[in-house]
Symmetry: D2
Amino acid sequence: MAHVLGQNQYGKAENRIVRVYRDSTRHEIKDLNVSVALQGEFEDVHLTGSNANCLPTDTTKNTVFAFAKEHGIESAEAFGITLARHFVDNTERGVVHSARIRIEEYTWNRIKTPDNTSRFIGSEEVGHSFVRDGGETRTTEIVYDGETVQVISGLKDLVVMNTTNSEFWGYIKDKYTTLQEAYDRILATQVTARWKYSYSGREDEAQPNWNRSYQHVRRHMLEAFAETYSYSLQQTLHAMGTRVLNNRAEVDEVRLELPNKHHFLVDLSPFDLKNENEVYYAADRMYGLIEGTVHRDGVTPVIPVV
Amino acid sequence: MAHVLGQNQYGKAENRIVRVYRDSTRHEIKDLNVSVALQGEFEDVHLTGSNANCLPTDTTKNTVFAFAKEHGIESAEAFGITLARHFVDNTERGVVHSARIRIEEYTWNRIKTPDNTSRFIGSEEVGHSFVRDGGETRTTEIVYDGETVQVISGLKDLVVMNTTNSEFWGYIKDKYTTLQEAYDRILATQVTARWKYSYSGREDEAQPNWNRSYQHVRRHMLEAFAETYSYSLQQTLHAMGTRVLNNRAEVDEVRLELPNKHHFLVDLSPFDLKNENEVYYAADRMYGLIEGTVHRDGVTPVIPVV
Amino acid sequence: MAHVLGQNQYGKAENRIVRVYRDSTRHEIKDLNVSVALQGEFEDVHLTGSNANCLPTDTTKNTVFAFAKEHGIESAEAFGITLARHFVDNTERGVVHSARIRIEEYTWNRIKTPDNTSRFIGSEEVGHSFVRDGGETRTTEIVYDGETVQVISGLKDLVVMNTTNSEFWGYIKDKYTTLQEAYDRILATQVTARWKYSYSGREDEAQPNWNRSYQHVRRHMLEAFAETYSYSLQQTLHAMGTRVLNNRAEVDEVRLELPNKHHFLVDLSPFDLKNENEVYYAADRMYGLIEGTVHRDGVTPVIPVV
Amino acid sequence: MAHVLGQNQYGKAENRIVRVYRDSTRHEIKDLNVSVALQGEFEDVHLTGSNANCLPTDTTKNTVFAFAKEHGIESAEAFGITLARHFVDNTERGVVHSARIRIEEYTWNRIKTPDNTSRFIGSEEVGHSFVRDGGETRTTEIVYDGETVQVISGLKDLVVMNTTNSEFWGYIKDKYTTLQEAYDRILATQVTARWKYSYSGREDEAQPNWNRSYQHVRRHMLEAFAETYSYSLQQTLHAMGTRVLNNRAEVDEVRLELPNKHHFLVDLSPFDLKNENEVYYAADRMYGLIEGTVHRDGVTPVIPVV
């Protein structure tokens, strides 16, 4: 046969796991969506119908749940590294050559109720009651190939808006251009970000504080979005990426996907009303889509274009 | 013809409007999704093809955007009342007999950046930069029939979880029952709530402080969810509804729809692990769905079952 | 307590069941999404925490799956009637007063492969291989209160388009009207339809042929949509409803929800191009939403407005 | 600055265009969702705020709509090639180095009505009335870099099921394995496929018949799915890919993503019922996810892993 089996991988996707810690009356929870993908010696599975080299996707699912008990979940990144190492290092006959673990993490906040034990009006957290934070989803992707660990973390669905300090003009005008130049427009986007850590999983290498790093990267992106006087969404993208690199030594590369969530000024002149940048129509589609990578000089960027 | 045209209505749905207030450097925004539905003398539109009585849906859309400028948007409820009154009272020849305005409101928080002007570490809000709160959506439905205004406000997609203080046992066991009784389970739900205000739009009647009322109703539901030791989701539902009625005199009726977002304890015994209420699988479907109304005695409930 | 527990109901929602018939090599499948809601003597469940009257939602789920084996699934309607009757008639101490079964049905077509046994080019169905028809979803809702069965069937997500034979003009022009009259426009909508059968479940009453009736109702709606020269979407709605009533004696009432999926003619004049009703932009939101009921004279309409 | 701007691109995404051909009373329609992404000399746009090299996303949108008139839409592929060539070849000063056009295509079928002009019962198509085929979406991606055109077409959301002829056994059993071997199971999946054409856009090269090729590739995948007696979803994937390569010379490489849409046999034994592969629960999540590429020997595979 003149056909070749190329890249292939498999595993159980979207294992929805909630891990509760009950060590005190103040419970802690981790809420993850874990997807496993394995590469290796799977030619026979495709070609001959022999599953002798196939670790069932069901087993990969069981492993996720069992590891939540055995190893706990301190962070999505650390949990993913432990899983990836296991599938490559411990599967029999070394048939798994590489494992990719993708995790989405959902955030929960504590519900607060009035503190009736205090003389003064206050509030206290209920130790076992949570309300889900509906904002951005935290993401990570771990790849381990038997030697090196690669960690690309990120977030998605972080929706932000500047009501001013955004212009767009001076662009190419060709025969299909009708856009009017804008000197004060709304700039809104739904941030998808991925950033690669320099951490590579060497034995002598300490893992970063993943949770702390996430909070800081997120904060720097928000601050850069808010503080950049913008002449294009591209410029804002670049400011967000460089702000992260300037402030977080553990990050080597940042890639952002920023849809331009258009807010069109409504023409109120037929009703004898002046619209002084007050009333906008928020459009769904079409949207500009701006994507880009910023990386440290000398580092080979690896975050793929999607 | 032996056929009758029954209930009918029409209008422009999902007008996505963003209103910006720029009165100071600290901008304010309102982000709404407004749907209009009109009832009235529309038989000819259906039967003869004459549109003489038809106010175009496009006009209802224009009105929404124009009113955002003319009247402003202090709250979704007040804005909806103004719109509903307009369509009934001002459409020519009184052909619109009743108007229903439904509004979804999305919340935005301010982005904060480090306060570099302060000697001490602090943070300050950026006046024109916002991050969308991805949590629950605020809702309201205004109906005006030329005489009375009815306001049913609510929220949806408020996801909450108790990691303990929930039991379920002592239920009917028939031949199809296999469920094991539970003495300590996770209770999680995605709250959809609607509550009716006693406000009816009489000329001498002051409108409630809608925004303040919303915050309080939401808070009372969260507190009741957190503080109720629950023997069924029904019991929690009832506690949430009565807590609102007990504390908010302006509300007459509360209806809740609570899907039981099941978290199943994973059986780790095949792996020689004990799962002491620590590792759960969060299921998508099927789910229990618990719905109910609590209302003041003597008040006729009006919030429809969906 | 001055508060009253009003309408309440509960049950297991979205039981995703696939039933396979293997009586010959030509398999048959039914693919349903079944939701159960029970009303009855559930005050204690809400008020005291006693579940003595509570049939667990888990049991209602088990019943759905067991009945698929015990009674089979000839049609969603017949299956729903059997389920609803069971919950009301057989639950202990008569605590269930009314049961509502909602079902979505997904259609599958057979995969055909070339018929190599035929001298002529032909194709034959593979007896066990199916491809899902991604078009409309068939729906039904059965309510049984111990005496009467009510069947409201329907469909959703049937997307249709006429590229001509649609006008819209002669409407009210008020100060907020800017819409231009249209003498040849695209008319497109996503049909949601519900129709009530006269069948009431009396002992001596034969059930209609539900599957056949569904096919005919669907066909009549499509034909009416295609054949109506339309002056408004309301007129098309009315034509669709009356066509069903005129042709299907078993149906008493039809309700339609028709979003006007706007297709806007793109202005190509800046590029020196004439757009002779050839190039359209298909908008997502906002959309007109037209809803209406047509029923036989003398019949009380019951399909609720949503 | 020690930071480098890496891969970046931008354009207008999801231009929803409907093109109507009215050359006879039998209209034809094309319904596309077109996304444009441009790469080139955009450093200044990111770094200095100068937009002198920026062709606005709005212009790319206008171009899509104008080209639908100027060049027509015979197929998504031909339309995409024309667009991609334009952006690279015609943008001023050659600042666009590469253009990627992604298109989703939605299929519509004609509505048929009874043919009343025929003596025999028949049906005829209405020339201007269509019902959307809700099945799979056709996709294509065109990349043009100034020299070579690369065409990767595909489909998504093609849902298929075999009710028998699927087994899974003989796999690795490790300490986390609990799965029972299966000798007759349902195999269902939602096909996402991409295939690369050998066409490279040389001047002397004829374009394939894209529409015809699509129909054949789709048919071969369906037939391979139906006719393969399967020992794993991997084996089915491989059979689908090789069937396409064996039959379609214009295709070089096929990549498939096949979620294993699990149908779990429901345990009816607690109800004294035997489930002889008749009653299944269709699960949403978790799901196995099987991905793989098959390509001709000697061809370098290019379809990216996602």
